[in-house]
């Protein structure tokens, strides 16, 4: 795995992400500054981490989406390269047009940090091959604006094409408003683009990769990615 972690001013989970990538793949990722016009040669995974890029003062992710480095990411994705956006990273991917839809303020209008349960809808993607379809994992969320929405047609297409990868659920996998902390439509927690190589998700699997620090439920995503990339290489 040769991962590149993007760093925008105000991003703050880039260190968590880098540590997890190292832990799960054995390889130190490259930290790529927003002003760069190109990704490091040989990059096979781009990660857009969480945080508050540009303070989220305009609209979450809106300014970061217009950074020079994002042109390189669009090119990379167009060539089939794998892109993972987590939390603010998901917002940035939506704002940059790599994923459809938008993340609105949480339904209760408050920032929420807690462990949530995610139902893994598919295991046949490079991001989820470490899980079984239907498996429920426990990972934390930490966001004020994670309430996913898109127009009806887009949602119908996402659902029809099986592009909803993670959904907020009860511990036993039931989709239920009581377990949908931010009010996202159809309890959507993570989606992929039409080609299946760009994933955006609100929860933080990178914060649940060690038994003593939360749980290891997030590990499958990174281990699966490492595996997929090893196969591809």
């Amino acid at each position: 795995m040769k991962a590149a972690v993007l760093v925008f001013p105000g991003i703050n989970r880039e260190r968590d992400m880098a540590r997890t990538l190292k832990l799960t793949s054995g390889h130190e990722p490259a930290m790529v500054w927003h002003a760069e016009h190109e990704l490091p040669a040989g990059t096979d995974l781009v990660v857009v981490p969480g945080g508050f890029s540009y303070g989220d003062y305009l609209r979450c992710g809106a300014i970061a989406a217009r950074s020079p480095v994002m042109d390189a990411v669009r090119k990379f994705a167009a060539g089939g390269g794998l892109v993972l956006g987590v939390c603010n990273g998901f917002q940035i991917l939506c704002e940059s047009g790599l994923l459809p839809g938008v993340l609105m303020r949480n339904e209760n209008l408050r920032f929420i940090c807690r462990d949530v349960f995610l139902k893994v809808e598919r295991s046949d993607t490079p991001f989820t091959r470490g899980y079984n379809a239907g498996q429920v994992i426990r990972v934390p969320v930490a966001h004020g604006e994670g309430n996913y929405i898109a127009d009806g047609e887009t949602i119908a297409r996402l659902e029809g094409e099986g592009r909803v990868i993670f959904r907020y659920s009860s511990p036993d996998g039931m989709i239920d408003p009581d377990w949908n902390h931010n009010g996202a439509i159809n309890a959507i927690a993570g989606i992929v683009n039409d080609r299946g190589n760009v994933l955006g998700m609100m929860p933080h699997p990178e914060n649940h990769v060690e038994a003593e620090i939360g749980s290891t439920d997030g590990r499958g995503l990174f281990a699966g990615l490492a595996e997929a990339l090893k196969k591809a290489a």
């Binding site: 508050f52 303070g55 408050r110 920032f111 940090c113 930490a142 914060n207």
Partner: protein, 736 residues
Amino acid sequence: MLPNDVKITPELVAEHGLKPDEYQRILDLIGREPTLTELGIFSAMWNEHCSYKSSKVHLRGLPTKAPWVIQGPGENAGVIDIGDGLACVFKMESHNHPSYIEPYQGAATGVGGILRDVFTMGARPIACLNALSFGAPEHPKTRHLVSGVVAGIGGYGNSFGVPTVAGSVRFHKRYDGNILVNAMAVGLAETDKIFYAAASGVGMPIVYLGSKTGRDGIHGASMASAEFDDKSDEKRPTVQVGDPFSEKLLLEACLEIMAKDCVIAIQDMGAAGLTSSATEMGAKGNLGVTLDLDKVPCREEGMTAYEMMLSESQERMLMVLKPDKEKEAEAIFRKWGLDFAVVGETTPSMRFIVKHRGQVMADLPIKELGDSAPEYKRPFVSLEKPLPVDAGAIEPRGSIADALERLVATPDLCSKRWVWEQYDHIIGGNTVQRPGGDAAVVRVLDGPKGLALTTDVTPRYCEANPFEGGKQAVAECWRNLTAVGATPLAITDNLNFGNPERPEIMGQFVGCVRGIAEACKALAFPVVSGNVSLYNETNGKAILPTPSIGAVGVIADFKKSATLAFKKQGEAIFVVGETTGWLGQSIYLREICAREEGAPPPVDLTEEKENGDFVRALILDGVATAAHDVSDGGLLVALAEMAMASGIGARLDAAPDDVPEHAYWFGEDQARYVVTVPAAQADALTARAREANVPVWRIGVTGGDAVAVAGQRALAVADLNARSEDWLPGYMAGHD
């Protein structure tokens, strides 16, 4: 001759919060009438908040030294050695007055200020904590203040990217007009890479970094040094506005130039902004400072020297850079998009000179600005201390089970999940123990070392007996750290009191400080940083004396830390420490009997140490499967909390005959813990306790799904949990 643009009248002096004798002191010191800018500078430096003029003489009695203390009080933050070449840098500070006037920004900038104190010293912040005191829930402003303060703390810390891992929230009518927002930050640095404020070398460039200067916060520190009245809302413009995004950039830029070895001295611009930071750097380094205000990056046009010197705009730093590294440092700051300007230089003159538009606006002796600040030995009286109440004479109200049901849903004892879920408490990937336990545990780098962190104080004890209350605040923190298995190392104190010009308030202050000193000495738990907040009064009504303590401990292997949750069915439950049934000043007496009276429970520091050392050893030896300190609400509340954290119930023996039942279950005797051990090890534990001369009692067994005291109605753990969890969200939603 300095231009005296404005005539200094007695009214103007009074508006600056300076007393006539203090103004006379200024005249004697400089031998002439000050300019308006100079008067502003004096008012900024000599107010209570910056000068500690009422408290200094008493603070000298606090123990501040230990072999592991690298830096005690007097710098931006305290520094302790935690081994392996690492230092923990921490401090707690109040932002009470601004938070009452504008809760979101007041609390947010409180967090921003304390984070800056920590990273100014070269440390990357790894955790935040807080201690919040609000007015009575039924007070019309409380809901608004809770909502704003919590959102402000979260808004700043979450965006900055530091986990807020622990804290305390209390409600009492005595905070109705004057809430307390005490924020603590903890950082990590290498022991040989700590940065200080003292400038060195003559002719060194003084560099301004960070955000631009605006008109916000002018006289903020003076506001914090006066009582409130009905017109306090008019002071809203003196509250600063926080920008966590800029602060995050400032952090990264500062740490980067520190790593590149560019920095000689650094001081953040906090209270009294440019004035206090520039004089401090000069005075500490025995140097003069000349500032050229034309160079200061300003957000607004036409700012006067007076405004620039007193602005408390946030996210700003002052540095003395190594001249040969100036270009390198500038490039780093430009990369992060921050302002960078050489605004002055160090001089051999020992004068603090401020120039603006070609004119000298201030020319003052730099040392005396700080050193000659008035220092008061204010008169103090100790009020008569209430006598202990006889538990036997207190009529129980309802059954033990009824009382427990009610207590877990009281504002002070209920779950604070609604609060801490608004704080990102996991960022950093090192939060081993999250909010809700006795202390948070945060892994240090990649481990195995961990830091245990807590804040605590029991204001009602402090009011009833300041000395015992001061002791108790320290002991309780020590106990919280011990209950997770950590070795307590040092504290920061944030002393919140009323008007020190009233002898009875000064008496509370003196008593609490003496109590803190006594406990710190006995427990080898020195004070390494702190903050004093006086004049917490509105219309002459003072808050409860609230010396918040923030504490840090270390555990060699974070995996060995204990949590309060019961682990298994069928384990033996022990209480460590003597239970006499002390109901005076207890939550039971207040909430169930509606009586706030009596002496608080005394703290025997020898017992405290012996019992704590015993419990810590049980945890580290892997004998104790769960541990919890017994505090507010007493033994049965502690047991219920252990059950609620796990979903596992407990069957408990009846109270012994020699202690009234309600006093046994809800009394607040100190130096106590509850621990569980596998049933097979119960006898060994008893023997071990006997050997250590520590009193322990086996009081029951874990199991089932209810908390069941012999002879009492069993209470389902799920129901207790629902009661505990529901109060705060219900209250905030207006369901009361």
